[in-house]
């Protein structure tokens, strides 16, 4: 579209006759800063103003002016001057102001409390994210390590839908357990991870699951398997204090792949 179309719209707009989408387009075009259209609009508005000037002179009644300026005077008068003539209103205004003050103080207190609460929530959130980040870093570190073994843990009789993975570095006796689908441990109980070698199970740590049934447990400096290597890992439900040997039902279990040099 050539710019002439915009100038034509400026003319139609000056007469207040631009309508529909065109009106919105033109206003957008104008507010985008088209000085040519702005000039044209001003010139056409002036020309249109002459249409009004061509009308025979008429004078509104003096009453119009009186009413107008009485209203302007009312609007312009500061409240302090009005008090004398409107005592009851000033009392009402005072009560309203007092109420407003109470509301403002209340609001400020509520606002400060809300802010403190929000800051507390943010702090918790940041801590959670930092912990999460540390855990993820551990996962990446383990996954990048060519020595890492991945042991799939299958759900056992009490929770057949559960599953888990144990990322295990045998030489460093360090690993990370990831599970999902385990039911929340009942009060006073906790899940325990066991590393099982030829000399029997070694406790590898206690953990709980979140509401989504997920859990992570970092294992480090695990006791040596006695002789040979750990062949199996298992998760059981134990008293929250834990113990040297498993006593509760087994929820997850998996073998280290025989082909691996575990």
């Amino acid at each position: 579209m050539t710019h002439d179309a915009w100038l034509e719209r400026a003319d139609v707009y000056a007469l207040g006759a631009l309508d529909g989408e065109e009106r919105a387009w033109f206003e957008e075009h104008l507010s985008a800063g088209c000085s040519q259209c702005e000039e044209r609009l001003a010139a056409s508005r002036e020309a249109a103003a002459w249409l009004a000037r061509s009308l025979p002179t008429e004078v509104p009644s003096a009453e119009v002016k009186r009413r107008l300026f009485a209203r302007i005077a009312r609007e312009a008068t500061p409240p302090i001057e009005r008090r004398r003539s409107a005592l009851s209103w000033s009392r009402v205004a005072g009560a309203v102001a007092a109420m407003a003050a109470v509301l403002v103080v209340g609001f400020l207190a509520w606002d400060a409390w809300t802010m403190r609460r929000l800051i507390g929530e943010r702090d918790t959130e940041i801590r959670t994210l930092q912990e999460e980040k540390a855990r993820r870093k551990e996962v990446y570190w383990l996954l990048e390590n060519p020595q890492v073994l991945t042991i799939a843990l299958a759900g056992q009789a009490p929770s057949p839908g559960a599953a888990g993975r144990f990322l295990w570095l045998p030489d460093e006796r360090r690993g990370l357990l990831l599970t999902r689908g385990l039911p929340e441990a009942p009060a006073g109980k906790a899940y325990a991870l066991w590393a099982i070698g030829s000399d029997g199970p070694v406790p590898a740590g206690l953990f709980s699951v979140d509401r989504m049934g997920r859990a992570q447990l970092a294992v480090s400096e695990l006791a040596a398997p006695g002789s040979g290597r750990f062949r199996q890992f298992a998760v059981t439900l134990e008293p929250a204090a834990g113990g040297p040997l498993p006593t509760g039902p087994m929820h997850l279990a998996g073998f280290v792949d025989a082909k691996e040099p575990a």
Binding site: D11, A14, R45, A47, E58, V59, P60, L68, I72
Partner: protein, 192 residues
């Protein structure tokens, strides 16, 4: 002289924006008649026109700081406010057809020539009327239908049974002509 008046009016609006009621009163005295004439032409009844004058000047007083000299003279600003408020009234109140017919029954350029205290208004009025006489009947008609009767381009096209493009072109040409005629008569140039 007109330039001085226009500049003076800008100062009056600026003073009004700062709460100077005397300045605003001078502005009222200067332009109330013009606003009233337009309101009367558009609305028809004196009481409606007087109400409109009060509304227009009340809005001008409350929003004096929004006036931008680059967008036109104070006079054009007041007339724009008046037009848009009058159009609102026309649109909300007219049981469309009667209102329009009543408006169009009136002569386009009323012949009255009353005395005026407004600065050079009559002379200008005469010059403008003679300029308007140089427009074709069709050109005058689109200007009046839009400016005085508040019809939009589409409404005018529907009313006259002509294509929208024709109406737009006619509006452009008639304003172009009016600008040129007023310029030639030495009254088209108004200080910003």
């Amino acid at each position: 002289m007109r330039t001085d008046v226009a500049e003076d009016s800008v100062q009056l609006i600026e003073a009004s924006a700062l709460g100077d009621r005397r300045a605003f009163e001078r502005l009222y005295d200067r332009f109330a008649g013009l606003v009233f004439a337009l309101a009367l032409r558009m609305l028809g009844a004196r009481t409606d026109a007087e109400d409109l004058v009060q509304e227009v000047f009340l809005q001008a007083w409350r929003r004096a700081e929004s006036y931008q000299p680059a967008r036109g003279t104070p006079e054009a600003w007041l007339l724009t406010i008046a037009r848009s408020r009058a159009v609102d009234r026309l649109r909300s109140s007219r049981s469309t057809r009667d209102g329009l017919e009543r408006l169009h029954a009136r002569p386009a350029v009323p012949p009255a020539e009353p005395a005026s205290h407004l600065i050079s208004r009559e002379e200008d009025g005469l010059a403008v009327r003679s300029a308007l006489n140089h427009l074709s009947e069709e050109q005058r008609r689109v200007l009046e239908l839009s400016y005085f009767d508040g019809l939009t381009q589409s409404e005018i096209a529907a009313r006259l049974g002509e294509p929208l493009g024709t109406i737009k072109t006619r509006i452009r040409l008639s304003l172009e002509r009016l600008r040129r005629l007023l310029g030639a008569a030495g009254i088209g140039k108004v200080a910003p």
